[in-house]
Amino acid sequence: MPENGQESGTQSEQAAKKIGVYLCRCGGNISDEVDLQAVADSLKENKDVTVIIQDYLCSSQGQEKIKKDIEKGKVDRVVIGSCSPKMHLETFRGIARDTGLNQNLLEITNIREQASWVHGKEGIDSKVKGLIKGAIARMSSIEPLVPIEKKLVDRVLVVGGGIAGITTALELADGHEVILIEKLPFLGGHMIGLSKTFPTLDCSQCILTPKMVAVKNNQDITLFTQTEVAEVQGSPGDYSITLKHSPRYVDIHKCISCGACAKKCPAGAIFLPFAQAVPQAYMIDMSKCKQCGDCVKACPRDAIDLEAKEMKSTIQVGSVAIATGFEPFDLSVIEEYNYPAPNLLDAVEFEEMLSAKSKTGMRLQRADGSFPDRVGFVLCAGSRDFTGRGKKYCSKVCCLYSQKQAQLIKKMKGDAEVWIFYIDMRSSGRRFEEFYHHTQEKGVNYVRGKIAEIIPKPDNTLMVQYEDTNLGLKGREIFDMVVLCPALIPSPGTKELADKLGVPLGDDGFIEEKHVKLDPVSTLNQAAFAAGCVLGPKDIHDTVTEGISAAHKISQFLGKGMILIPPEKPVIFECNGCGESVKACPYNALSLEKGKAVLSPLACTGCGICVPACPIKGIEIRNFSRNLYKAQLRAILSEAPGVIVFIDPYAYAAADIAGVNRKQYSSLVRFVSVPSIHILDADVVNAAFEYGAVGVMLIEGTTDEKLTSRSDELYRKLKKETRKHKKPLRYSHIETAQYEKLTDLLNVFALQAGAKAEKRGKKEQAETADDEIKE
C-alpha cells in the first residue's frame, strides 16, 4: 500500500525531516499584530524545525534565502507563514520548481488576510502559533506528488455577442476555433442600439457593422443566435457544454431577406429585426403568428418552418469567455420618478430611437410624434445609492453619453433647451474633458443637483423639482421629455452562467476578476475569462481593450496544449466491491471493474465525497487523509482552544476578501482548508472536539449543485454523530462575495461557542471543587 496517505505518513515520520518555517513580517502588516519572535520561540522544542523570520519573503531577497537553504540541504520541506496562498503560492512554488523540490513540500499558512488583518492583538499569538504548528504537523506527513497532465481542447466558447464578445471572437479566430453564442436574434449587443459614440461622435452602426459581418464570414467562428448555455460538464480545459437554441422559425442559412413572406403575412408576425441585422434573416414573433402558413407558401427558398422546436446541442471546448454585458436598472423601483410615463425614457430607449434599431426612422420624437423642444437629463438615476434601493457604484458612462445625446439634440434643433442635472460631472479620460467643454459651448444648461421628483402632467409634459445646489435654491421646470440615465447592472443570467462555470461574482453582481488590478480579465476558474461590461460598466474603448486582452489570455492558456491538474486524488487501498463510493461520486469518476472500485483521475474533481461514502474507510484523498487532518487539528488546538472552521476554496476566497477589507472577527477562529466540506466525516469532527475545539463550523462556498444539494444531509449526519461532545456544530453557505455575512457569522458563532465553553468550564470547576470538598 505504498500510495496510502497514512502509510507514507508513518514512513516519513520515521525519517528525520528538515522543515524550514519562514515567517514573514510583511513590512509590519503581520509583525505589528503578531509577535513573530514568540511564535518562533514556541517552536524551539521541535528538532525537525528551523525557523526564520524575514521581511518581505516574496521579494527577491526573501525568495533567495529560501532557495539557498533548500540548495544547501538545510531544509527539505517548507512552511511559509505569510499572506494568502491565493496571493503568493505560485511565487513560492516557483522557488520549489527552481530548486527541484517537489511542489507539495511547500505550503503557505495564511497569517495576514486571515489573522493580522482581521484581529487585534488579543489571542492572535496563540492562534498563529497553533496554525503554524498545525502546518508543521501536516508538512511532516505530506507525500510528494506529481501533478497530472490533461490535454486541452483547442476550442473556445464566447458567450454574448456584444462588442466585447465580437472582439474576443475575432481576435481569437486567428488561430483558434471559436463558437460565439448570442441570446438575442442578432449580434451587436447594446452598441448596435447606440446613435453616435462619444467622444468622437462617429456613428455606432458604421463602426460596428463591418465587425459583425467579419464574424459572420470568418471560417473559424461558428455563430449561434437565440442561444444560451444550458449545462456545463467536465472540467477546466475540457468542457462539454450543452447549448439551448430557441426557434426562429426561419432558417438563417436559406433566407435571402427577400421579404416575400412579410408581404403575405396577415398578422405582421414575420419581419427582419432591422436592416443591418446580422445574421440577415427574417424571424417570426410567435405571439402574433396565426399559423396560417401563408409565409411558408410565399417563401421562394423554403426557409420557413412553423413547427420548429427548441433544440439542444453539445459542444466540447477548452475555455470560455464570458461577455454577457449589462442591462439598465429597472427605474420603476424609484417611485418619485414615476417611470415609465409618456416622454419619460431611460437613456437606452433614447439611444435606440436614433440608432440602427430605430422604430421612428431615426427621428427624435415625443409620444405624439412632435419634436421635444425642452429635454432634461437625470444623471445617476439609481446609481451611487447606499440605501439598497439603487446601486452603490457609479455607472461610469452616463456623464459622457448624456452630453453626447445633448449635443445631438442641439444639432437637430439649435434653439432646443437641453438641461443636464448632475451631481458630479465625471469626465476623466483622454478627450473627455474636451468633450464636456464642447457640450458647454453648445449652450447646454448644466444644473448641479439631482432631480428629486418627476411629475407627469396630463398634457404629457413632465414637471421636475430639484435644488440648484450651486445657488441653494429650489427649482421647478417643465420638460417635453426627460431622459433618465440608469444604473447599469449585469445582464440577467450572468449569475447562472457564472455558477455553472464555478466563477465567483462580486457583491455588485459583476464577475470577480482574479486580481482587480493585475489580472483583470481572468477569473478564479483558470479556463474562464471575461470582457466588457460583465466586469463592470465601461465605455466601448475599454470594452474592446478587455476583449483583446481576454483573447490574448485564452490564446496563451490554450497554447500550452496541456493543463496541470492537482494530484490530490483518492487512493483506494481497500475495496470489498460494495459500490457505495461509485454511487456517491457526483462526477462519474469511479467505476467498478472486476469487483473493485477504479478511479478515472481526469474526471475526478477531488471533492472527497467518496471518502466518507466508503463503509470500510478504504478510501483517502492524498494529502488530505483523515490522519493528516487529525494531526493538524491536534497541533492547532495544542496552543489554546478555538473554533475550528472547515472551509472550502470558494469560501476561503471570501475570508481573504474580508481580510483585504479589514473586517474584524474573533481570534478564536481557526480555518482548516478542505477541498470540499464533503470530505469530512464524524471521525475528523469528533477529533477536533476531543482536541479542544469549542465549536466546529463547516463553511461551503461552492455553487456546484452536485455538492450543495448534499450539504444538509451531511450536516444532519455529522450533528447526530458528534452529539456526545455537546459542543456547537454549524453549517453555512457563503458565496465569495458575501464576506460580510461570513464575518458576522463567525463572530456570532465564536461568541456562542466561547460562552458555552466558559459555562461548561465553570460547571466543571464547580464539580471538581465539589469533589475536593467531598474528599
Binding site: E336, C380, R384, D385, F386, T387, R389, G390, I423, D424, R448, G449, K450, I451, A452, E453, Q465, Y466, E467, D468, T469, G472, L473, K474, G475
Partner: protein, 225 residues
C-alpha cells in the same frame, strides 16, 4: 505699494460696514469641531460625512424655500462644524418632519432626525428666535390643554413677536368667519398629562445633575427616537 494695499483694505472694511453683510466667510474660528464630532457620533450623524450634496433632500422638501439654509446646506454645515450658523438657522424649526428628505436620500442620511437632534441643543444653548419661540409656545399650550388651540397659539405668539400686529386684521376676519374658535378645546385627564410631563422634566433634571447639560440634550433625543 504696501501702503496702497493698506488703504485698499481699509476701504474694503469700511464699505463692508456700510453695506449689510448677510453671510460671513468661513474662517477657522467659525468651526466648532467638538460640536461637529458630537453630532457625527450620534446614530444619524454617522452617515453625515458621506453626503454627496446631491440636493435631493432640498429638492424634495416642501418648505426648503422658506429656510435660510436648505437641508443639504445644513448637512454640509454639520460636516464643517459651523455651530453658530446651524443653531441660529430657522431650518431646524421650519422642518415639518415630513420625512421626504430622509426617504429619498441616497446615502441614508436622515435630515429629519438631524433637526430633532439640533433643536434641543439650540434650546439648551439658550438660542431664541421667532421660530424657537413659536415652538415653545406651541408645546406650552399642548402641555396645558392636551390640544393645539390656534387662538391661544396666535395670541400668545403675537405678544412675544410684536411684528405679528400686522396680521391682526386677517386674524379678526378669521374670527368673524368662525374659522378661529376662541375657546380652547381641552382634552379629558389633563392632570395625567401634566404628571407625564412632570416625570419627564424631573428625569431630565436628574440626568443633568449627573451629566453636563450638553450631553443631556443629545441622549434625550436618542432615547426619544
Amino acid at each position: 505699494m504696501s501702503n496702497k494695499i493698506y488703504i485698499f483694505t481699509n476701504l474694503h472694511v469700511f464699505s463692508c460696514t456700510m453695506i449689510e453683510m448677510i453671510k460671513n466667510a468661513i474662517v477657522p474660528e467659525s468651526r466648532d469641531l467638538a460640536f461637529r464630532d458630537r453630532i457625527l457620533k450620534t446614530d444619524v450623524g454617522k452617515k453625515i460625512p458621506t453626503c454627496i450634496q446631491c440636493g435631493i433632500c432640498a429638492g424634495s422638501c416642501p418648505v426648503s424655500h422658506e429656510m435660510d439654509y436648505t437641508p443639504r446646506e445644513l448637512v454640509r454645515m454639520v460636516q464643517l462644524g459651523l455651530k453658530k450658523e446651524i443653531l441660529n438657522s430657522n431650518t431646524i424649526w421650519i422642518c415639518t418632519t415630513c420625512f421626504s428628505c430622509s426617504v429619498r436620500c441616497p446615502r441614508e442620511i436622515r435630515p429629519t432626525e438631524l433637526m430633532e437632534i439640533l433643536k434641543p441643543i439650540a434650546v439648551a444653548e439658550g438660542i431664541k428666535n421667532k421660530n424657537s419661540k413659536f415652538d415653545r409656545i406651541f408645546s406650552d399650550v399642548v402641555k396645558k390643554t392636551g390640544r393645539a388651540s390656534e387662538f391661544l397659539l396666535i395670541s400668545k405668539y403675537s405678544l412675544e413677536e410684536p411684528g405679528m400686529i400686522k396680521q391682526a386684521p386677517f386674524g379678526l376676519s378669521l374670527i368673524f368667519k368662525g374659522k378661529l374658535p376662541l375657546l380652547p378645546d381641552k382634552m379629558e385627564g389633563t392632570d395625567e398629562l401634566k404628571a407625564i410631563f412632570e416625570i419627564k422634566a424631573s428625569e431630565t433634571k436628574e440626568k443633568e445633575k449627573k451629566e453636563p447639560a450638553e450631553k443631556t440634550a443629545e441622549t434625550e433625543v436618542e432615547a426619544g427616537k
